[in-house]
Amino acid sequence: MFTEELKAFRRLGFRHVLLQALNFASVIASGLMIWKGLGLVTNSESPIVVVLSGSMEPAFYRGDLLFLTNPIHERYHTGDITVYKIPGADIPIVHRVLETHDAKSRGPTHNQRLLTKGDNNDVNDIELYRGLDYLERKHIVGKVRGFLPYIGYVTIAMNDFPQLKYALLGGLGLLALIQRE
């Protein structure tokens, strides 16, 4: 099955394999740099997120891709859609701001407390806050600015079926090593 490839491998020699490995590494490194660069520009630890639950339907469905920013000097408003992460909970949540409370601020960031709610939920999120009464600015990952439907479903599929992830990674790795152009 792979005899052809193996033959090609031998013909091209060790240097070629090394070169391909280098190419592969540079692709991964530039992906990582773009991601971290985006994080710097948007001031958000994760500037692109995939919707994982149906609590914002019909605005967002599972697998939709959201683009976030988190400008440090900007306050949040009611109606903004935020992504927040409560310490101890591993999954970030995408919900809409229902209440804002701005006390006088002493630092550069706003001393703002927020209450959120999912469009598709009947009650607000206090139950999700693990004992907190309100969200604070430090819990907020970002504000949703833009929206691209369905694209993120690939990652959900890879989470639901890990075999798919390994098959894809393995396939990509193999291709990167044996392609000859």
């Binding site: 605005a59 408003h77 009611t78 109606g79 209440e99 709610k117 929206f147």
Partner: protein, 177 residues
Amino acid sequence: MHSVYARVNNISALLSSCVMGLLAAIALSSVVLSLFEAPLEGGQVLVKGVKVTHGRGRQYQYEHATVAFEIDADLTPLFNWNTKQLFLYLDAEYTNSKGVKNAVVIWDRIVRRREDAQIHVEGRQKYAFRDKTGFRDAAATYTLRYNVMPHVGALVYGAAGRTNGSVAFPALNSHNV
């Protein structure tokens, strides 16, 4: 050069860049369309009555406000081919006696079709409107705001109407609403 792999690779690359270009064009088109659309006018928010009471039971430490309001607005200009839905919400903004600036959504509605974008609502708030400090000497401005959610592209926010001036909260009265 002309292997199956190369061909599949070329075709899928072309296809995905075409789809991305198309999506970008659609997202841009709604920005352009919004420049030409007629401005919203005639949106009205009327607050017909506000009542302040103590919460009951575990809620006793809060003062609760009950707001009766009427909304009239025509939001049909906000619908174009890239509008998935409108999220409408009535926002109460006030500063309490401790100097904390508050904004609270007391009512909302999702509008998914152009035919439903003529809004006439007479009613009370949907969500709890409460403050631990209390509403004493405070006055709130009520604003009808919207969030246009596109099929693809940027989220847009705006206001469609507000009360004339601010509406003062009445003094705290009985426990019964």
